[in-house]
Symmetry: C2
């Protein structure tokens, strides 16, 4: 199947909107998936997008709104009244509803919630909005299928038919006791393959994974990925069943986390996309460049200390090698830190720190040795004195070892202190390794060449 | 809930294995999730792990095996006979079975498949093993619940009870015609909320997404993420239903893809983990460092062309700024390429190339201007001549613009030629930008300072 929206289709829709051919618009969009319609609206202008949102029925538009690009959704929502938004929200799952309302201004939030006709729904949304960002509570939905252990299979199926209408996908049926405490689960499959007179208490599976409403969303993602769960119930301190989190939300969490780490490694501090404005991109990129600038000025400062050797042609060539040394220090540091950051994320940085230190030193010695030999060979072709190319090779090896150790241990230390180790990748490690590298390079060269 | 395995638990298991207290081992592990047992086995030695695998029943061990670290699984499988592996495989879903058999040597593959007692299963696994790696076929499982449009709801439920036993999770029920062609779908919920005498033909949803068996797995991941699907049917050229892909496999694809891009950006060429051997880590890291070395030697070559200005103290200081210039070129290049690579992955690099060029130039001008002012200010404190610090500032701005353009367009061009743009991040872009940067820096300085 193709997931591309054709340019012709978009132009056709634009023309139809211009001519207000409502019937044809509805016909054209009715068979399209809401995610596709959202993509069409993303490229239309605001008036056109709003026109279509107001034209389609709220069952469809509620799903489209959730798929829209955040910036565009914000603008479309500004064009809708509190009552219209309340109608959209009433068609959504509670987690999506709470997320969308949270994007509005505080004053509008209240008006929208007050305009929701179903009071239970309004209460659910209010509850969801109280949970902290990046907590299990902020991810969960209130919709779930819940049965009491005392029910029979037949009674259960009857009740489920009613409950399931509000739940788009039934992953698991949660079994609770009289106090609404989670005691087990059942799959729909178990239920339809059981005899109708059996009691739930006799057939449910008591071994049920759950997360606490205040758990971190990344922790929830790890649990669900590890145990291959498609939904997980959320409970409070008393094990009361509060809601459930589904795998599609976790896919989003994993993707965001991966994107964030990737951007940090590349020196981009906040979530930006290729299509964001120049100002947003500048805000995300400039701070790291300024860090790099100060790092570079630090290197200038170090080299100024060796200014006098420039007059001596025997030593002056050392300055030609500073970008090479800085690049090696940077590359090695980023490699080491990236492996550690990924290892920490996947929980496979185990064993003692001393063993890890030995390993990094060993690895750097091998890499440094191979690269050092290459430098000596290159030096031969570049007609450098052996003494001089050996100096470059040996100081480069030392720089590689130190860079690897910095790249390895800075993220580990940050992680131990509860700081996201991903910030220690990219420009941060490159810049500090540049300075250390240049310092060490001249220091060792001075010892070896004796200036 | 906690997903940590305690050290005490592992030591207890080790002691039990040593004393061959089989009953206690079974009791201790019976209530544990297979993913947790796999984690325990990952840290035990090979004999201990094999002992436990042979002790537990194959229903449990088949799941444990799939969760084991690949290196450890390989070794454990070497200790099992073809017949024992066949028994494990028979308990797995077909996609997992095919994946695990594919890890064996070719000669063992055949023996294991021949040892599978269920001939249909053996045929399914053989079929799955014919699909290319990273294709939809390689991800799909043969297990699914399939009904014919001519059946009634009641008949359907009867048949499903039988089929569902082999399917661990029923996401969708696929509706086929007499030729086994996919014509629609039904949810289990739809089925239990329908009247038992209704015909499937009257209640099924004909709008069903599917992927072709030869589609790329990343494409499948995009489709499933976009349309929030938890399972998708896989068809051949004639729309014959061949299997289904579930969201848990897609989570793995997304994770692998993100990890790979991250590692490429960090200059690590193959999938390695923090706990891999020094040799594996060297193989993954050294090639990029060699690339960096040659880049650095390229800079040496460029600077040698300006050797004579070292004698002039007015110009010699330029050499102090080469690491700064190289760092700026590298950082800007990585930022630009990372944003583009992510944008390409998320399909949001749209619009004309010319507009993108304008945007990158605009962005670089802003960043370069701010950084240039900082350089002039720093120059004031470092007692540089204004003329000199202006030269540094302006050449740095030019370097930033060129670096941003290279970082933006190299991945776009690679992508257009069908090459993974992610290889253009990290050391590749840093190294080429280092050389361009140094070249441009001296070229502009020469023009401005007139040497």
């Amino acid at each position: 199947m193709s997931i591309e929206i054709s340019k012709e289709f978009i132009e056709k829709i634009q023309l139809l909107v211009e001519n207000q051919e409502n019937k044809t618009i509805l016909e054209s969009l009715n068979d399209e998936h809401h995610a596709d319609i959202a993509e069409v609206l993303d490229v239309l202008n605001l008036e056109e997008a709003t026109y279509i949102i107001k034209l389609l029925d709220s069952e469809k538009t509620s799903e489209i709104l959730m798929e829209l690009d955040e910036d565009i959704r914000e603008k479309v929502l500004e064009n809708l009244s509190a009552k219209e938004i309340a109608e959209e929200v009433s068609e959504m799952e509670t987690d999506d509803a709470a997320d969308m309302i949270a994007e509005l201004s505080e004053e509008r939030q209240e008006r929208v919630i007050n305009a929701i006709q179903n009071e239970d729904l309004a209460a659910d949304i209010k509850e969801l909005m109280t949970y902290e960002e990046n907590s299990a509570g902020s991810l969960m939905a209130k919709e779930l299928v819940k049965v009491y252990a005392t029910w029979t299979v037949a009674g259960c199926l009857r009740k489920i038919r009613a409950q399931a209408k509000n739940v788009s996908r039934v992953h698991s049926i949660y079994v609770v006791d009289k106090q609404e405490k989670l005691i087990g689960r059942l799959s729909l499959k178990d239920l339809i393959t059981a005899k109708s007179e059996e009691k739930i208490a006799d057939i449910y599976i008591s071994n049920v994974d759950s997360v606490h409403v205040n758990d971190d969303d990344e922790e929830v993602a790890k649990v669900m990925a590890k145990y291959d769960l498609e939904a997980i119930p959320v409970v409070d301190d008393y094990n009361t069943l509060l809601g459930r989190i589904t795998i599609d939300d976790i896919v989003d969490v994993l993707k965001e986390e991966a994107d964030k780490d990737y951007q940090l490694a590349a020196g981009i501090t906040q979530e930006v996309e290729a299509d964001d404005s120049i100002w947003e991109l500048t805000r995300a990129r400039l701070p790291w460049l300024i860090l790099g600038l100060f790092g570079g000025l630090g290197s200038v400062f170090i080299m100024e200390g060796y200014e006098e050797i420039m007059a001596n042609p025997k030593f002056a060539k050392l300055f030609f090698f500073t970008p090479l040394i800085a690049a090696m220090a940077g590359n090695v540091g980023v490699q080491s830190s990236a492996i550690i950051v990924q290892g920490l994320a996947n929980d496979n940085v185990k064993g003692s720190l001393f063993n890890r230190l030995l390993k990094e030193v060993g690895l750097s010695l091998i890499n440094g040795f191979v690269l050092g030999i290459l430098v000596v060979i290159a030096g031969f072709f570049m007609k450098m004195e052996v003494n001089f190319s050996l100096t470059i090779a040996i100081s480069m090896m030392s720089v590689i070892i130190v860079a690897a150790l910095i790249g390895t241990f800075v993220p580990i230390i940050l992680n131990k202190r509860g700081i996201d180790p991903a910030i220690a990748t990219g420009p941060f490690i490159t810049t500090s390794n540049d300075i250390f590298g240049i310092f060490l390079f001249f220091f060792i060269a001075k010892l070896m060449l004796g200036f």
